[in-house]
Amino acid sequence: AQKVTQAQTEISVVEKEDVTLDCVYETRDTTYYLFWYKQPPSGELVFLIRRNSFDEQNEISGRYSWNFQKSTSSFNFTITASQVVDSAVYFCALSMKTSYDKVIFGPGTSLSVIP
């Protein structure tokens, strides 16, 4: 079965703190893709990053960084020096090569950054 778990339902941090959002996935496919999306209050999901299963290199983009570890089936997302504008719901997602059209989303983590 394919599944995405985000154990943290809600996180609250004070501005400028670092925060890590956890994501654990399950799949038997050897080729798959992992994503993070951000959903602000407006409702529109915004793409943040895409990783394929053969690329375990970690990535940094400004204040955002991602840690992909196949050994633990995790794809965690860290925001450094958080800002109020980072407040949103964040979704980790998975698609498999055998059914790449179907993206499976986790339940999401609601992040609140307090000024």
Binding site: Y32, E44, L45, F47, R50, N52, S99, D101, K102, G106
Partner: protein, 114 residues
């Protein structure tokens, strides 16, 4: 460059009625996917349309149907509405030839069934 647009943004229906939601994909995109997002949950895949055909379908009953037009826009139809169909319906567009590509989402149509 217009992004993904959806209409209507909000609508209220009663049980047993039928609803049609519409989506125009991002310019240059040929694939449209529909997702249902219940309150406090992640989006659930309904189906995807490519070249005017349903390419893949999630675990939704036949009451949920769709269509894609030659200009790549799409409609989602839900018949015999149930209270549990109340949700945010999201449309996402992408390029069909790119495997595992990113999805571009609209702001959704919020359906309330009374």
């Amino acid at each position: 460059d217009a992004g993904v647009t959806q209409s209507p943004t909000h609508l209220i229906k009663t049980r047993g009625q039928q609803v049609t939601l519409r989506c125009s994909p991002k310019s240059g995109h040929d694939t449209v996917s529909w997702y249902q997002q219940a309150l406090g949950q992640g989006p659930q895949f309904i189906f995807q349309y490519y070249e005017e055909e349903e390419r893949q379908r999630g675990n939704f009953p036949d009451r949920f149907s769709g269509h894609q037009f030659p200009n790549y826009s799409s409609e989602l139809n839900v018949n015999a509405l149930l209270l549990g169909d109340s949700a945010l319906y999201l449309c996402a567009s992408s390029l069909g030839k790119i495997v595992g590509g990113e999805l571009f989402f609209g702001e959704g149509s919020r359906l309330t069934v009374l």
